[in-house]
C-alpha cells in the first residue's frame, strides 16, 4: 500500500505528513521533561539516564528532569522553555495521560503553543509502579520516551470541538441518592426525569425506622423529600419505569424507557384505598415486598403508607381478573374516580437528555447463601431488613418486636458481616452493617428489654458521631462479642430457641449462647442486574461488580462515559450521609456540564482526504454513528465531524489509506511502534 508519507521521512528531515505540510515550517525543536514524581518514578526509573538519552534524540532541543512536573514551577519550566528556547513540541514523561494530559496541554498552551503539540509518556503507571528491576524499568522508560519524541514530530495544531449540552437530566433510581440528586438539579432550574423501577420512590431508606448515628426517624426526614419530588415543577417522576436503551452521547442522549402497566391511572387515583377494601380477597394473601415478606397484602395494594406517588397498583400475576377474566371487579365498583384500567399496556417513550445520573443502589446479601446461620431453616433467624420492618412503627407489627409466634424475645443475637469480608461470598466490607447492627441492638433493647449479643469480627465505626454511638450502645449493656459465629441450631425442646456457637476471642474461649431471635446483618452487594444496566449505559463495573468511577480519588462520581455520573450505593457500599453527599456531587457535575452549555471534545475525529478516496464505500457501514456519507456527485466518502466520535475504525479499514484520524494518524502510530522497538 502506498502511504505517501510514512515514517520514512526522517524526523528532522522535513517532508509532509498526511496532507499537512511540515515542509517549510520552522525546524522541530522539542522539549522533553522527565518527572521524578517525588520518588514514585525516581525510585525505580533512573530519570537522569532517561533525560540524558532523551537529549540525544533527533529534534530534541532540551531535556530536563524535575521533581514534580505537575507542580506550578514544573509547568512554568515548560512555559519558559517554549518562550526562551523557541520550542515547538513538548513531551512530558510522568504519570498516566488520564491524570495530567490536560495539565500539560494547558502548560503548552500557556507557553504560546497549540496544546496538541504535546505528547505524554506514562512512565509511572506503566513502568515505575509495575516493575522492580531498575535497569529494565529504565530501559522501558527510555523506549517510551523515544516513541513519544518520534511521534510528536508529526503532531499538528488542532482545535478542540464543542458539542452543545441539552439541559435536561435523567436520574435513574429513586432511592435517597436519586431523590437528592433530582432535587438539587431541579432546584438549580434544570428539568429532571426521575425514573424508578418500583411503584414508589424511597429505596431502602423508606423501609427503616431510625437511622444511625443520630437515630432520627427515617420517615420524618425522607417523606418530605419524596413529596417535594412529587410536587417539584422541574421533576417528571416516572415510577414502574426502566431504561431499555441509551443512544447518543454526552450532551444529547436519547433514552428509551419502558413503563410497566400499573392498571391504575396515576392522574386519577387519589390513594383513598377503597378499592383495596373492596377487593374480593377478604384478607391479604401475598407476601408484602416492602415489609420483607412479614405481612400479607392483596393483589391490589398501595406500595407502602408513605408511597410517592400515593397510587395503588395491581399485580397481574395475582389478580383473579388476569388469571380467569371472571372476577366480580368489586374494586372497579368501589373506585369513584374510575381509575382502574385492566387493559393498560406497556408503554415505550424516548427522552432527550444532556446528562445521566445513575442511582440504582444495592441489594442485600441473600442470607441463604451462608446456610450455617440457619436462615430459611429456623423461623427465628431474621435478616436485618426484616428487623428494620419489625422495629418500624408503620411496619407489620406496628413497631413491636415480636417473634413469629407473637412472643417478645428475651435474648437476641446479631451477627455482623453476613456475606461480607468472606472469600466465599463477598470479600468487601459493607461499611454500614456494624453501625446498623448497633442501631438495631439499641432499638431492640429499648423496645423489648432483651439481652442483646452483637457478634462482630472487627467493630468498624469510622464516621462523624459513629464511635460515640458505639460507646453509647456499649454502655447500654449490649454484649459485644468479638468472634465469628460458627454455627446456629435449634434447641431440642422445640420451642424455637436457638443456640449460637461462637468464638469469643477477647475472653479466649468458645461460647454457646442461647437466643430466641437471631438477626443477620446482611451485607450490601451490587444489584442482580448491575451488569445488564451498566451495559445499557455503556459504563464499567469494577471487579467486584459495583459501578466504577473514573478515578477513585479525583473523579469519584464520574464514569468513563462523559455525561454519566454515579450517586449512592450503586458505586459501592455507603451510608446515607455519604450517599447524599455523593448525590450532591453528581448533581453538581451535571450542573457544571449543563451550565457551561457545551462540552469540549478531543479533536480526534477522522477526515477523508478527498483526492485519495476512490468512493469504494467500505467505511460507510463500519461507522457506529452513521457519520460517514457518500457524496454521490463526487463519488467519495465524507465524514460529518459533529457525529464522529474518533474511534478510528474507518481509518484502519480504508483500503486506499485515504482517511486520517487527528491525534492518531498512521504516521504517529508507526513512529511510536518504531520508537519503542529501536532499542538503545
Amino acid at each position: 500500500m502506498l502511504r505517501e508519507n510514512g515514517f520514512g521521512s526522517g524526523p528532522t528531515s522535513g517532508g509532509k505528513t498526511n496532507g499537512a505540510p511540515v515542509n517549510g515550517d520552522p525546524p522541530i525543536r522539542i522539549g522533553v521533561y522527565v518527572c521524578h514524581c517525588g520518588t514514585n518514578i525516581a525510585r525505580t526509573v533512573d530519570v537522569e539516564r532517561v533525560t540524558e538519552k532523551a537529549g540525544e534524540l533527533p529534534g530534541v532541543t532540551i531535556a530536563r528532569d524535575y521533581k514534580y512536573m505537575c507542580s506550578d514551577p514544573g509547568q512554568e519550566l515548560i512555559k519558559e522553555d517554549i518562550e526562551e528556547l523557541g520550542l515547538n513540541r513538548i513531551v512530558v514523561a510522568s504519570c498516566s495521560p488520564n491524570l495530567h494530559e490536560g495539565t500539560f496541554r494547558g502548560a503548552t498552551a500557556a507557553g504560546g503553543l497549540n496544546p496538541f503539540f504535546f505528547q505524554m509518556v506514562n512512565i509511572r503507571e506503566h513502568a515505575s509502579w509495575v516493575h522492580e528491576d531498575r535497569e529494565s524499568a529504565t530501559d522501558k522508560a527510555i523506549d517510551l520516551v523515544r516513541a513519544a519524541v518520534r511521534r510528536v514530530h508529526h503532531h499538528k495544531a488542532l482545535e478542540t470541538r464543542r458539542v452543545p449540552i441539552k439541559p435536561e437530566v435523567l436520574v435513574v433510581g429513586g432511592g435517597i441518592a436519586g431523590i437528592s440528586a433530582a432535587l438539587t438539579l431541579a432546584d438549580g432550574g434544570k428539568h429532571v426525569y426521575l425514573i424508578e423501577r418500583e411503584a414508589s420512590i424511597g429505596g431502602h431508606m423508606a423501609q427503616f425506622d431510625k437511622t444511625f448515628p443520630t437515630l432520627d426517624c427515617a420517615a420524618c426526614i425522607l417523606t418530605p423529600k419524596m413529596t417535594q419530588v412529587r410536587n417539584h415543577p422541574n421533576i417528571t417522576l416516572m415510577t414502574m419505569t426502566e431504561v431499555v436503551k441509551v443512544d447518543g452521547f454526552v450532551g444529547s442522549y436519547e433514552v428509551t424507557v419502558k413503563h410497566r402497566p400499573r392498571f391504575i391511572d396515576v392522574s386519577l387515583c387519589v390513594g383513598c384505598q377503597q378499592c383495596i377494601d373492596a377487593c374480593v380477597y377478604k384478607r391479604g394473601k401475598f407476601e408484602d415486598e416492602f415489609d420483607a415478606g412479614l405481612s400479607m397484602r392483596k393483589p391490589i395494594y398501595l406500595p407502602n403508607a408513605q408511597a410517592v406517588p400515593q397510587v395503588v397498583l395491581i399485580d397481574p400475576e395475582q389478580c383473579i381478573q388476569f388469571s380467569s377474566g371472571k372476577c366480580k371487579q368489586t374494586c372497579v365498583e368501589a373506585c369513584d374516580r374510575d381509575a382502574i384500567f385492566f387493559d393498560q399496556e406497556e408503554r415505550i417513550e424516548t427522552l432527550d437528555v444532556g446528562a445521566i445520573i445513575m442511582a440504582t443502589g444495592f441489594q442485600t446479601f441473600d442470607a441463604r447463601r451462608s446456610p450455617h446461620y440457619g436462615y430459611g431453616i429456623y423461623p427465628n433467624v431474621y435478616t436485618a431488613l426484616e428487623v428494620e420492618r419489625l422495629v418500624n412503627a408503620s411496619g407489620p407489627t406496628g413497631g413491636e418486636i415480636v417473634l413469629r409466634d407473637g412472643e417478645k424475645p428475651t435474648a437476641v443475637g446479631i451477627v455482623h458481616c453476613v456475606g461480607s469480608r468472606n472469600q466465599k461470598s463477598n470479600p468487601w466490607c459493607s461499611k454500614v452493617c456494624c453501625m446498623y447492627s448497633l442501631k438495631l441492638a439499641h432499638l431492640i433493647k429499648e423496645k423489648t428489654d432483651a439481652e442483646v449479643y452483637n457478634f462482630y469480627i472487627d467493630m468498624r465505626t469510622p464516621g462523624k458521631g459513629f464511635e460515640e454511638f458505639y460507646q453509647r450502645v456499649a454502655s447500654e449493656g449490649t454484649h459485644l462479642i468479638r468472634g465469628k459465629v460458627a454455627s446456629v441450631y435449634q434447641q431440642a425442646d422445640g420451642d424455637g430457641e436457638l443456640l449460637v456457637d461462637v468464638e469469643d476471642t477477647l475472653a479466649g474461649m468458645v461460647r454457646r449462647i442461647p437466643v430466641d431471635m437471631l438477626v443477620l446483618a446482611v451485607g450490601l452487594e451490587p444489584r442482580y442486574d448491575a451488569e445488564e444496566v451498566r451495559r445499557t449505559f455503556n459504563i464499567t463495573c469494577s471487579g467486584d461488580g459495583w459501578f466504577m468511577e473514573r478515578h477513585p480519588k479525583l473523579a469519584p462520581v464520574d464514569t468513563f462515559t462523559d455525561g454519566v455520573y454515579l450517586a449512592g450505593c450503586c458505586q459501592g457500599p455507603k451510608d446515607i450521609p455519604e450517599t447524599v453527599a455523593q448525590a450532591g456531587a453528581a448533581a453538581g457535575q451535571a450542573l457544571a456540564l449543563i451550565g457551561r452549555g457545551y462540552m469540549e471534545l478531543e479533536p480526534n475525529t477522522a477526515q477523508v482526504i478527498a483526492e485519495d478516496c476512490s468512493g469504494c464505500k467500505t467505511c460507510i457501514p463500519l461507522c457506529p454513528y452513521q457519520a460517514i456519507l457518500h457524496d454521490d456527485a463526487e463519488n467519495r466518502a465524507e465524514i460529518n465531524e459533529v457525529l464522529c466520535k474518533g474511534c478510528g475504525v474507518c481509518v484502519a479499514a480504508c483500503p486506499s489509506g485515504s482517511i486520517v484520524q487527528n491525534l492518531f494518524e498512521d504516521t504517529e502510530i508507526y513512529e511510536e511502534i518504531e520508537g519503542v522497538l529501536a532499542y538503545a
Binding site: G8, S96, P97, E125, S542, A652, V676, A678, A680
Partner: protein, 189 residues
Amino acid sequence: MLEQADSTVQAPQADLTSQTSAEDFEPRIVALFCNWCTYMAADLAGTSRMRYAPNVRVVRVMCSGRIDPQFVMHAFARGADGVLIGGCHPGDCHYQEGNYKALRRFRLLRRVIESLGIERERLRLEWISASEADRLRKVADEMAADIRALGPLQLSIPAEEFRNAEGAGAEIPSPEIAGETAAKEVAVP
C-alpha cells in the same frame, strides 16, 4: 516512496537477533491497547502496584478497531518478538463494535503471520476490561514467558520480502532513521 523499497538498509531485527544469545533473550512486545478498557487496566495495574514482565511497551489507540493490520506487520518487521492487542470485552467497546472489527482482523492476521512463518503465539488478542488489572498482569507475564521460550523472532523469508508482504514496502525506513537505530544497537551490551 516505492523507490526506497530497494534501499540497501538492513532490516533492524536481523542485527538484533544475531547479537542476542538465547539465554539472556528478552522478548520485545508491542502492546496496542484501546484507550477505554485495556489502557485503563494497565493504569490500574500501576496504581495497584502489581508487578509484571517489563517486556511490554504500550502504544495507545482510541479503540482496538483502530488497529490497522499493518501496525502489527510493521511491528514484526521492525523487530517485535510479539504483538499484543488489547480491547474491551465483546459488548463493552466504547464505540459499540470496534472490538469485533479487531477480532475479525486478528483472525485473518494470525493466518497471514503463520503463513509467513511467524508462530501464532507471537500475536495475541485479549479482552481486558478497565478493572481487570490482574488479568493484564497475567497476560503480560504469560506472553513474555511464551515468547522467551520461542526465542527471538526469526523470519523464514528475507526481511526484504517480508516488508513487501507488509504493505508493498511502503514503510521502508529512510536511511536517517535506520542509521539512528543501527547506531543505538551497537550500544547493546
